[in-house]
Symmetry: C2
Subunit: 349 residues, 2 copies
C-alpha cells in the first residue's frame, strides 16, 4: 500500500487537478464516510500535505492537522472534500472551513453529487478570490453511444458481489503488481476517489444511462497489444439499484479478465437487507456469462477478499482455504503477500 | 390499432402537454425516422389534428396536411417534432417551419437529445411570442436511488431481442387487451414516443445511470393488488450499448410477467453487424434469470413478433408455428386477432 499511482501514464479525461491536497474531513464521526480521504492517504500520499476538519470531527487519516493557511505555506494547492454523507450534499457545518480554504488560496475539489458552484456562499467566495470550484463527479460532455467494437490491448475489470468492499483497492494493487512485473498497465478510475487518486477518469454512475457503456469504452481506448488497463469496478451485477451501471461497465470494458471482489461474512447487500449477497461462484458465472457478449475470451483470473475485519492469522487461513475451495488465486489488497503476483500471472497466462 | 390510450389513468411524471398536436415530419425521406409521428397517429389519433413538413419531405402519416396557422384554426396547441435523425439534433432545414409554428401560436414539443431552448432562434422566437419549448427527453429532477422494495400491484414488461422492433406497440396493445378484459391497467412510457402517446412517463435512457433503476421504480408505484402496469421496454439485455439501461429497467420494474418482442428474420443487432441477435429462448432465459433478482415469481407470458415485412398468410403461419415451437402464446401488435387476449390470460393466470 501507499505507493503512488502517479507514475502511470494516464488519459486526460478530466483536466489536471491542482495539487498537492489538503484533505478535509468535515465534521465526520464515521470512518466509513471517509473513503476518499483514506484512499488518497493510501494511494497518493505524496500528494497529501495534511488533513483539516470542522469542529466535531472524530476521525483522522493519521496525517498531521494543518489549517488552510498553514497548508498553503507548505505547498498545498487544493482542499479535497475527503468525506461523504448519506445525502451527498454539503452541510452548513462545513461552509466556514471551505470559505477559509478559498480565502487562504486553495481551490476546492469535490466528488459529491451537489455541485460546489450551486452553494451560493462558495460560488461568491471563489469568484471574489479567483479560486476554482472543481466537481469531479460530473460527466464529461460528448460521450458517445458504445459501438461494441473490439479494442486492442488487454483489460481487467474488478467485479464485486456488492458495493464498497474493495474493488478500487484491488484494481490499484493489481496495477502496481502488473507494473512491478514489467508489464505496462494503467489504472482506470470510474468513481470519485479513484479519479482523485489517478488524476483522471470518468464517474461512470454520473453518466446518462444511454451512454454509460460508451463512457466505459472511452475510458480504456485502443492500446498496445501487451498493455493492460486495470478498470475500477462499480456496484454489483446483483445489486437491486446499480446492476445496470455494473453491466454497462462490464460490456464497455470488454475485459479479458475479471477479478471478483468480496467481503467474507457480509451476508446482505449493504442498505438492502432483504437482498442476500450472491456467492463468489455465482458472481463469477454471471460476470463471465454477461461479459462474453462483448469479449468471447473473458475469464476469471481470481478473487480478492477484503479481510480488514479479521486478524492476520484468520485472514491467512481464510485466503488459503478459499483459494483451495474455488480453485483460483485469492488475494487481499490490504495484506500484501504474493497473491497479487499470482492474479497477474493468471490474467496474462 | 388506433385506439386512444388517453382514457387510462396516468401518473403526472411530466406536466400535462399542450394538445392536440400538429405532427411535424421535417424534411425526412426515411419512414424509419418517423416513429414518433406514426406512433401518435396509431395510438393517439384524437390528439393529432394534421401533419406538416418542410420542403423535401417524402413521407406521410396519411393525415391531412395543414400549415401551422390552419392547424391553430382547427384547435391545435402544439407542434410535435415527429421525426428523428441519426444525430438527434435539429437541422437548419427545419428552423423556418418551427419558427412559423411559434409565430402561429403553437408550442413546440421535442423528444430529441438537443434541447429546443439551446437553438438560439427558437429560444428568441418562443420568448417573443410567449410560447413554450418542451423537451420530453429530459430526466425529471430528484429521482431516488432504487430501494428494491417489493411494490404492490402487478407489472408486465416488454423485453426485446433488440431495439426498435415493437416493444412499445406490444405494451400499448397489451394495455388495451387488459382493459378490454375489465382489468385495470396503465401503460407506462419509458421513451419519447411513448411519453407523447401516454401524456407522461420517464425517458429512462436520459436518466443518470446511478438512478435508472430508481426511475423505473418511480414509474410504476404501489398500486391495487389486481392492477397491472404495462411497462414499455427499452433496448435489449444483449445489446452492446444499451444492456445496462435494459437491466436497470428490468430490476426497477420488478415485473411479474415479461413478453419477449422480436422481429423474425433480423439476424444482427441494428447498427452492430458484428453482434448476432440473441434467440427468443435465450432472451426468455436471460430475462427470467436477471429479473428474478427483484421479483422471484417472474415468468414469461409469451412472445410478440413484428411481422410487418410479411404478407398476412406468411405472418399467420409464422405466429402459429412459433407458438407451437416455443410453447407460449405468440402475438403481433400490428395484426390484431385474439393472441393478445391469450397473452393477458397467460399473465394473470
Amino acid at each position: 500500500m501507499g505507493q503512488s499511482m502517479s507514475q502511470l501514464s494516464v488519459m486526460p479525461v478530466v483536466s489536471p487537478l491542482p495539487q498537492p491536497f489538503l484533505l478535509f474531513l468535515g465534521d465526520t464521526t464515521e470512518a466509513s464516510y471517509a473513503k476518499t480521504a483514506f484512499g488518497l492517504r493510501d494511494w497518493a500520499p505524496e500528494r497529501c500535505v495534511a488533513e483539516y476538519a470542522s469542529e466535531g470531527a472524530t476521525i483522522t487519516t493519521g496525517l498531521r492537522f494543518l489549517t488552510p493557511a498553514q497548508a498553503v505555506a507548505e505547498g498545498a494547492r487544493a482542499l479535497v472534500i475527503g468525506v461523504a454523507n448519506s445525502g451527498g450534499f454539503i452541510p452548513d457545518a462545513w461552509i466556514p472551513a471551505l470559505l477559509e480554504a478559498l480565502h487562504a488560496g486553495l481551490d476546492l475539489i469535490s466528488g459529491m453529487h451537489t455541485r460546489l458552484a450551486d452553494v451560493p456562499p462558495l460560488e461568491a467566495a471563489a469568484a471574489r478570490h479567483g479560486r476554482r470550484l472543481i466537481d469531479i463527479r460530473q460527466s464529461p460532455p460528448d460521450i458517445p453511444v458504445a459501438t461494441g467494437r473490439k479494442r486492442s490491448g488487454k483489460r481487467l475489470l474488478t467485479v464485486g458481489t456488492d458495493c464498497a468492499l474493495g474493488k478500487k483497492y484491488t484494481a490499484l494493487a493489481l496495477t502496481r503488481a502488473f507494473t512491478a512485473r514489467g508489464i505496462a498497465a494503467d489504472f482506470r478510475a470510474t468513481g470519485q476517489t479513484g479519479i482523485l487518486i489517478a488524476g483522471q477518469g470518468i464517474p461512470i454512475d454520473a453518466v446518462l444511462a444511454d451512454f454509460a457503456a460508451g463512457a466505459a469504452e472511452m475510458l480504456s481506448p485502443d492500446a498496445p497489444n501487451e498493455h493492460w488497463d486495470v478498470i475500477e469496478g462499480q456496484g454489483s451485477l446483483s445489486h437491486p439499484a446499480y446492476a445496470g451501471v455494473s453491466l454497462a461497465l462490464l460490456h464497455g470494458s470488454q475485459p479479458d479478465a475479471v477479478v471478483i471482489c468480496h467481503q467474507p461474512g457480509r451476508d446482505f447487500i449493504v442498505g438492502h437487507p432483504e437482498y442476500a449477497l450472491p456467492s463468489i461462484e455465482e458472481t463469477i458465472e454471471l460476470a463471465l456469462r454477461l461479459g462474453r457478449r462483448t469479449n468471447s475470451s473473458i475469464r476469471c483470473a481470481g478473487v480478492s477478499l477484503n479481510t480488514a475485519h479479521l486478524d492476520a492469522d484468520s485472514a491467512r487461513r481464510l485466503l488459503a482455504g478459499e483459494s483451495e475451495r474455488l480453485g483460483f488465486p485469492v488475494a487481499d489488497p490490504m495484506r500484501g503477500g504474493d497473491a497479487f503476483e499470482r492474479l497477474v500471472e493468471a490474467s496474462i497466462s
